[in-house]
């Protein structure tokens, strides 16, 4: 069955793809889609804490800025953080995992123990520590996220590399005289790529959640950046009267994280067609 047909049949994958596609669209077209694009920085205290209505579709925040418009621009920030932090984590974690899994000697063991140390500390706590030390700024958030997230990829790639290392095609390539670098990058890596893609997709959801948490704790971008986590933090003192203030960014975060998770799960089913599905073979 072709990939596209499978895509359409898998509801979860479809929903996930749609959500992420919407996120990207919203981020790209935030300016034309928003009603008050200037409210990213400007504010209007006379309109503060208005409930959702005809003018302000999702209500206003404590500075009188339109929550809907700020939400849309926040999407840009969300994508930026997710993509950059995850990419950096992947670029660190994958090579480490490859080398450690390929050589299986003391060096690899040491690398894995280092990653174990990182994994032992709760990611949020570590991210808080780093962000706190470096100060509130978007690039520090990204740094904190990458630094705490790379071990997940290192572990995954380590395990997959070790298992591929025993496959005959790898042994044959080595026997033929291919250098270790060639084997790792040209042979093993493409064969484990689907696992990496799936983990990366799900990882983006996790990254967004941690970024939002950091923003909530005040460690993210300084105001008035329309970061979703920060918006929820700001809403605390006005709950439960201004219920819309937290609801909008909260649902946005929920949807986006769920979207990435669904996409990742669905991709896993699509990219790793278990060839040995027993119902599919006649013995």
């Amino acid at each position: 069955m072709s990939m596209w047909r499978r895509l359409l049949r898998d509801r979860a994958l479809l929903v996930g793809t749609v959500i992420i596609a919407l996120l990207v669209l919203v981020a790209v077209f935030a300016t034309p889609l928003s009603t008050f694009p200037e409210h990213v920085t400007a504010f209007d205290p006379a309109q503060r804490l208005k409930p959702p209505g005809a003018i302000f579709w999702l209500g206003t925040d404590r500075m009188g800025a339109d929550i809907y418009s700020r939400l849309l621009f926040g999407a840009r920030l969300t994508i930026l953080i997710a993509v950059v932090a995850t990419t950096v984590a992947v670029l660190i974690g994958v090579p480490i995992g490859l080398v450690a899994g390929y050589y299986r000697n003391w060096f690899g063991e040491m690398l894995m123990r280092v990653s174990d140390v990182f994994l032992a500390v709760p990611q949020i706590v570590l991210a808080i520590a780093i962000a706190q030390t470096l100060g509130p700024a978007i690039h520090n958030v990204i740094l904190a996220l990458s630094a705490t997230y790379w071990p997940f990829w290192a572990r995954l790639v380590y395990a997959e590399t070790r298992s591929q290392r025993n496959e005959i095609y790898v042994e044959a390539a080595i026997a033929m005289g291919a250098s270790p670098l060639r084997v790792m990058v040209l042979h093993i890596l493409p064969n484990i790529m689907s696992s990496i893609i799936v983990r990366t997709t799900i990882g983006m959801g996790g990254t967004i959640l941690v970024a939002a948490s950091l923003g909530f704790l005040g460690l993210g971008a300084p105001p008035p950046t329309p970061e979703w986590g920060r918006m929820i933090a700001e809403s605390r003192e006005f709950l439960p009267q201004a219920w819309w203030y937290a609801t909008a960014p909260g649902i946005a975060i929920l949807l986006v994280v769920m979207g990435f998770n669904l996409l990742g799960d669905g991709l896993r089913d699509v990219l790793d067609p278990r060839i040995r599905r027993s119902a599919n073979r006649a013995p």
Binding site: I168, Y169, A172, A175, G177, S179, P190, N191
Partner: protein
């Protein structure tokens, strides 16, 4: 077949450490324990034996996949045992190893054309055009169409994958190919096709083979000479016709007696060999076949026989020959 042998093994040994539950080494599993033999140009040497005899380990050591614990391997006059991978690969380019399922040696994510070019990319500095020419020639030699170059391994049948794997082995124009159980698991009708292909290639390119197999009838038909292995040693080695007509080593005799002969008397009517080979970590002193040998005596149980050359040119490792 003149001059120095193409491949020469002297006293080759390989031992795997046996570790207990704590990872402490408690002993050695001697997969190979002093194997010496040679293969001439264009010659086909069959290596037979049952499980645990070490024939697979032998093939892998010669191909450089496993390192030897002791002994020497000389190929085309050069010592190739125990070299660092890069140097070894250069000297070994004309010595290729063909897996039991050559199709499995193909990377599932690589197109066949690219997989076939890889040996040339790694070992030679040929231009793209020249590489392409060689790939086309190799495909033709194994009887596959050019269209296969753009396909992935899972898009062709198992038999065709096998041929592609074989074509890949031929890319570097080897002078010796180690065939590790090439017909195991194959249906008899397919086996004939595969063996005929090997034979054709051997004649066309003056290829020598080390034909490792547990299937005696196939080895008999195909090999010029044959080496019978038992528990890491060569029990007997010589001309195929000689050995099949008149086996001298008691193990060889039992082995040949066990093979069913269709149309002839049933071997199970008279088969006599009892027991099973001892565990390789607990080899008995003296001759390793002594516990099961009908002719074993005190000398056999205490003194390990070395290979001796007999008048008719074959070598046997037995006190009673």
């Amino acid at each position: 077949m003149s001059g120095a042998p193409l491949l020469e093994l002297i006293g080759l040994a390989h031992a795997f450490p046996i570790r207990n539950a704590f990872g402490v080494r408690t002993g050695w599993h001697k997969a190979l324990d002093g194997v010496s033999l040679h293969v001439g140009e264009g010659e086909i040497l069959g290596v037979v034996g049952e499980s645990g005899c070490g024939k697979s380990t032998l093939g892998k050591i010669i191909a450089g996949i496993l390192p030897p614990s002791a002994g020497s391997v000389r190929f085309e006059g050069n010592e190739i045992a125990d070299l660092p991978p890069r140097a070894g690969a250069a000297l070994r380019s004309r010595l290729q190893y063909c897996y039991q399922d050559p199709g499995a040696s193909l990377d599932p994510r690589w197109k066949i054309g690219r997989a076939l070019e890889e040996p040339l990319v790694v070992h030679t500095k040929l231009s793209r055009a020249e590489r392409r020419r060689r790939v086309d020639a190799a495909l033709e030699a194994v009887g596959l169409p050019q269209a296969h170059l753009d396909l992935y391994p899972h898009e062709i049948s198992g038999g065709q994958q096998r041929r592609v794997g074989l074509a890949r082995v031929l890319m570097l124009r080897p002078s010796l190919i180690i065939l590790d159980e090439p017909t195991s698991g194959l249906d008899v009708s397919v086996q004939a096709t595969v063996l005929n292909l090997f034979a054709t290639l051997s004649k066309a390119h003056t290829l020598a083979y080390m034909f490792i197999s547990h299937d005696l009838s196939v080895v008999r038909l195909f090999s010029h000479r044959i080496a019978v292995m038992y528990l890491g040693r060569v029990a007997e080695i010589g001309d195929t016709t000689q050995i099949f007509a008149d086996p001298k080593h008691p193990y060889t005799q039992s082995l040949l007696a066990a093979v069913p002969q269709i149309g002839g008397p049933r071997v199970t009517d008279h088969f006599k060999l009892e027991g099973e080979p001892p565990h390789p970590d607990a080899l008995p002193p003296g001759c390793r076949f002594a516990p099961r040998c009908p002719r074993a005596d005190a000398r056999c149980r205490s003194e390990d026989p070395q290979g001796r050359t007999l008048a008719d040119g074959r070598e046997v490792a037995c006190h009673h020959v």
